[in-house]
Amino acid sequence: MRDERMDADDPLRALADALDVEPSPGFGAQARQRIDADRGARRRTRRYAMAIIVPAAAIALVVVWAAHRPSDVQPRAVSSHAEVVPQSAPPHPVAPTTEDLAAERSATAVVARTRESRMRDEGRRGSPRAFRNESQAFAAVPVVVPRGQLEGVRQLASAAASGRVRIGPPLADWAAGVQPEATPLQAPDPLRVPALSVEPLAN
């Protein structure tokens, strides 16, 4: 019961009486309604955010990819022996054909694989990625192109000779000795290529 003599002696009891309030009967239902409404609103906000963020991220990805696509990347030496073709060299007016690019990819892959397998044969340890990162180690390992892959190298040399792709001096020197039109290609087995660098021409 509320204390009629509410005074300085008993403030806590008076406060307890004053705070003895009960929620109104509809309090729980109203609270539930507000909670449900809040959940709905948050769900909608999430959906809208996704509708904006996902396309924006996709656009950003495309922009970044376009800015760093392979044709814009500076030519990279496959080994420390290779020399990069100077940028000042005038671009050839003829664009590389699909076959040229395929040949270039094929020859590059052959070189990388054979280096790694050669290093493994010599007892070097590490993953292929680690081998690729060891530029100094690459420099010491001669590149071996197996007979079965010669066609790709021949096509690359042919493309280089016609000016559709440019290749670095070591392979260029080697390719210069090859008659691209000669069939079949006469080459020792295994064919030893000291180093290779390839620069695809910009479209």
Partner: protein, 179 residues
């Protein structure tokens, strides 16, 4: 009472129905506490209910992290207290604070007695408002539902000894002001 809400067992898959039931349990269990805490600041029943409901809305967002009943109640009390103070400062009060004075000074029909009672009630609230927040929260929690010092300590998130000293200090200041 304590058994109404228990933590979900680890690894249990909680269905939407479980969540709804759990929220309803907590609403039933802690509504009065939240409304009273808000009322102690706002002194208006409608405003207090508004703030308490808003506190439940926020609490519902963190229901998963506040599975423990005592932690939930403590968190709800502090959130409601904070929100009520913000509400009061923001000037969003809809009604006057007369509710609280009227609760302490009911009408008896004798005008002179009624006026004196209302004055005393107004003085008490004034004295409570003049207390620092840390003392006021402890005092209010101790006044609600006859909470023990241990319960107040758990709700306010302070040590039991701190509650005792704050209660002592709050009472002393109130008595001084109401003398």
């Amino acid at each position: 009472m304590n058994a109404i809400v228990r933590p979900w067992p680890a690894g249990r898959v909680v269905s939407a129905e479980d969540r709804v039931r759990d929220l309803d349990d907590r609403l039933a269990e802690s509504s009065a506490l939240a409304v009273r805490v808000a009322f102690s600041v706002l002194r208006n029943h409608a405003d207090a209910e508004d703030v308490a409901q808003e506190a439940f809305v926020r609490a519902s967002r963190r229901l998963g992290a506040l599975r423990d009943r005592d932690r939930f109640r403590a968190w709800l009390v502090r959130l409601t207290w904070r929100m009520a103070i913000d509400w009061q400062r923001s000037g969003r009060r809809r009604g006057t604070r007369e509710d609280a004075v009227a609760r302490l000074a009911p009408q008896h029909g004798n005008a002179e007695v009624d006026v004196a009672a209302r004055e005393r009630a107004a003085r008490l609230w004034q004295a409570i408002d003049a207390l620092p927040e840390r003392l006021r929260l402890v005092l209010v929690l101790a006044a609600i539902d006859g909470h023990t010092t241990r319960e107040v300590a758990a709700l306010a998130g302070v040590a039991e000894g701190t509650v005792k000293s704050r209660l002592f200090e709050a009472r002393r200041r109130l008595q001084e002001q109401l003398r």
